[in-house]
Point group: C2
Chain length 215, copies 2
């Protein structure tokens, strides 16, 4: 069978569409045109149609897309029609913020384990999850069938934690530590660096996005 690559930006837009569709559905809207969806999401209608067309054609010409069907289909495309077991490595402030953030649970991500290496934190509970010693990570990750790991440790610890996660069988890692971590090709890795976001703002304000040609 032939396969097509879907670009990362297209996948991110799908997430975005999903959020919009959920709010349209909650408001009782039955159908939506690519034009309306685009207007609400700040993109173009051609982009919306192209993105959706990669996965089949579920719109009706003249009418638009049926909101509940499209919402369900994107949920499925994104793999959000199942629940994912996620662990948090690092029980600091950022870990706490992610833990209490309702958006994860709502979209199918269950935080089933939390690790730290600080004995004053180990043993505490966040909601109904106990903070475990990071030394027990391999055993706990296996026992709870953790599929994704989120690294919210200081930079120094990130690589070691990533190695442990991989050895324990985690398939995907979201890394918030500000350093590059290496993982085998078959493990999905995504980095989020909060400082970089502010730095791009600084660049934009400094240069208004353009710089003099050097020649």
């Amino acid at each position: 069978m032939a396969f097509r690559r879907i670009s990362d930006s297209a996948v991110r837009r799908l997430s975005h569409y999903l959020r919009l569709l959920e709010s349209f559905e909650a408001a009782g809207q039955r159908t939506i045109s690519s034009d309306d969806l685009a207007a609400r999401g700040g993109m173009t209608s051609a982009q919306v149609r192209k993105d959706l067309s990669h996965f089949g054609s579920f719109g009706k010409r003249g009418l638009g897309y049926p909101v509940p069907v499209l919402r369900a289909r994107i949920t499925e495309i994104l793999g959000l029609d199942k629940r994912w077991n996620v662990c948090l490595v690092g029980a600091g402030k950022l870990g706490a913020a992610l833990h209490q953030y309702g958006g994860f649970r709502r979209q199918g991500f269950d935080i089933v384990a939390i690790f730290d290496n600080d004995s004053t934190r180990i043993g505490r509970r966040w909601g109904d999850v106990r903070i475990d010693d990071v030394a027990d990570l391999p055993a706990v990750v296996r026992a709870r069938r953790v599929e994704m790991g989120v690294i919210v440790t200081p930079a120094e610890a990130a690589q070691e934690v990533a190695d442990d996660l991989v050895r324990a069988g985690v398939e995907a890692i979201l890394n918030f530590a500000p350093r590059k971590v290496d993982v085998p090709d078959e493990v999905i890795l995504r980095d989020v660096n909060l400082a970089i976001e502010l730095e791009t703002l600084s660049f934009a304000l400094t240069h208004k996005g353009r710089i003099p040609t050097t020649r």
Copy 2:
């Protein structure tokens, strides 16, 4: 004068180079080749040279780039050779995580004001910054010459906060609330959506990045 647009991804790579250069400099390394820099950063050497060449030529053929000079130049290019006054709107867990995150201060971002609408939080201090009532945002933002605002409120409040920030003269906004906010063209806006990051992981695990062609 002719101007050139620098792509967003190139700017993000500059941030990345900067971080690497800082660690090379701390280690006492005097020069570095595009090849080494690329290897450490997980990109190609041609990419590194192309990115840098947009801003002039500071390498020496046969030798590489002088680490301190390049570090200083990228700092300047990113606009990090000055300090930026930043405010945090929302004194919840995510706000707390950003506040204590050392990377901001180190790169030149000073959190000079924090706002919330919860009376149990207003009046408290985080470090030496008092949490102010969001109703006072316009006055405080002006008084403290805040240039960038970070929105870490629930989704419902985001647009109103953005409007207030813009009216108070903030030039750039980093939005962590999971909804689209509208700002005038001249205000720089960047969104960070933590749920989307996990959703792209879910997509990748579900499909291994490719999907069957529909025709």
